[in-house]
């Protein structure tokens, strides 16, 4: 339906050029209206599902609201936040989330870069590698998580058998390592594809010039490729860091947050569906939202990552 109106505008275009000013502003106004009209449905859905609920969550977080006693909901101000922020569970979950985020993103950056270089430079089999790495990207996270879980289950898993038939998922450190492994396997391909697109923007001539000047492969990578790829790297890091901070599926399946391996998302989920505490659960939701906003702000202002939105306007 967007189309007829558009072709109408396209048809007006020559007319407005001929007749000059007042007509032109008429056309610009029509274009403006059409732009808003076309965006309206998308904007409405996005606001209805995000802005309104987040506002409602702020409201809920200021109430004492236990789902088992919904009639006794009561305004309690900021005391839910006080309860969360003074609880060791929140800080433990935040620590676990931070560890998982930082370590998995660093590993993904290194492996993703290697994979991107491989796909960019390999002499043959490029298509096969690209097709294969899309499988971890596309596969349902829960499916992959079950695969890792069974692989590490004593008496069932090949990896457990390989490493002395232990039960690593019941040990905090080892379980977190496995969660990181599962995250890295699933998302390195995405990182690699973003970096590969960045690599494609590095002009081949510069590489050749550096080579003629006697730069080693490592020097060429450090001094030519990396600086030119900085924007692509920062965007990839921003995406992945925010994504890793939300880690939920892998932990839910692998450990269900047991043995001190729960992330903040797991904590929020448990408070809602196990403790049935809507007030505390909402406070956690808002705190996670604030954390994500801080991370995004740091990346965009601190490291100068181009918010992809600003580039789109160009």
């Amino acid at each position: 339906m967007s189309i007829e109106t558009d072709t109408a505008i396209a048809a007006q275009a020559p007319a407005k050029r001929r007749t000059g000013r007042p007509q032109l502003s008429e056309g610009a106004r029509a274009e403006r209206r059409l732009g808003w009209l076309l965006c309206a449905p998308a904007v409405l859905v996005m606001i209805a599902v995000t802005a309104y609920p987040i506002g409602y969550a702020v409201y809920l977080s200021l109430e004492r609201y236990d789902l088992r006693f919904p009639g006794q909901a009561k305004w309690v101000g900021l005391s839910n936040y006080g309860a969360v922020l003074s609880s060791p569970y929140w800080w433990q979950a935040l620590k676990v989330t931070a560890i998982i985020t930082v370590i998995s993103v660093i590993i993904e950056l290194v492996l993703g870069m290697l994979l991107a270089l491989l796909m960019h430079r390999t002499l043959f089999g490029r298509g096969t590698v690209r097709t294969s790495i899309l499988i971890p990207y596309g596969i349902v996270t829960v499916v992959a998580a079950f695969s890792w879980q069974y692989a590490w289950t004593p008496d069932t898993g090949y990896l457990s058998a390989l490493f002395g038939n232990g039960a690593p998922l019941t040990d905090t450190t080892q379980a977190i390592a496995i969660i990181i492994l599962a995250e890295v396997w699933k998302t390195t391909p995405f990182m690699a594809l973003l970096l590969m697109a960045g690599l494609a923007l590095v002009p081949e001539d510069l590489q050749k010039a550096a080579k003629v000047d006697g730069a080693t492969a490592w020097q060429r990578f450090r001094r030519v490729t990396l600086p030119l790829m900085k924007p692509a790297i920062l965007v990839a890091l921003l995406f992945r860091t925010l994504d890793a901070f939300r880690v939920f599926d892998n932990i839910f399946v692998l450990t269900a947050g047991g043995h001190n391996t729960g992330s903040v998302s797991i904590l929020g989920y448990d408070n809602l569906f196990t403790a049935l505490n809507l007030g505390i659960g909402s406070a956690i939701s808002i705190l996670i939202f604030i954390c994500v906003a801080i991370i995004a702000f740091l990346f965009i202002k601190g490291f100068g990552a181009a918010a992809p939105g600003t580039a789109v306007k160009r």
Binding site: V49, R130, L134, F248, G309
Partner: protein
Amino acid sequence: MAATARQRIGWGSANTIAVVLAFIPVLWIVSLSFKTPATITDATFWPKEWTWANYRGIFKTSEFTHALINSIGIALISTVIAVVLASMAAYAVARLEFPGKGVLIGMSLLIAMFPAISLVTPLFNIERAIGLFDTWPALIIPYIAFGLPLGVYTLSAFFREIPWELEKAAKMDGATPFQAFTKVIAPLAAPGMFTTAILVFIFCWNDFLFAISLTSTTNSRTVPAAIAFFTGSSAFEAPTGSIAAAAVVITIPIILFVLFFQRRIVAGLTSGAVKG
């Protein structure tokens, strides 16, 4: 540039390692799904005895068949609506000048990075209040909202590449506006829309957090959520085999997409992020 034998071996082994690492966890879950109850705890990578029993078992339960129908229906409906709405917005972003464009992009970006858990609590309460909880729209609505940013992003990158002057040229050659659209523009826009649809579908197919939070029965529970609550075909049996078989079934569409549309998926994933 002729490759030396050493280079060939080097690249070849690097390629092989990447491919093998990508496939091992998938092969393992496939292998588990074909193991018999007696051998499922033998910890060998490949089954010693093969059986279809796990697959026959899950397709006999409504728990799985309903979940599969829910997954397919919910993902398809969400994808179609999200791609249509995203195309309209992306067309405006790519071709029209209007104030508020930056706000739209910024908002999409914000939502793309939104922690889903922050929405689960309020959505759970809102959907219970208006009677949407545990219905198809309970999931379709958030999926559209989260599919939209991805769609607007990818599609506006694709739409900017379309040579729109062709439309004018067609009209000059005597095509009606409708013909110019159906014969010239639509064929050029279709690949981008198709690619976007695949990405949005994968997102909906993959979701777990909304699926376990906003549903409670086979009415609307999708497969990822359903398998997390599988109990096994009998009370005395661990559900390993059933879970593995169900996991393999929902992996098949992903494998098909990847095999047939590898190029498109790569283009779609990278277009919005880097060029955009």
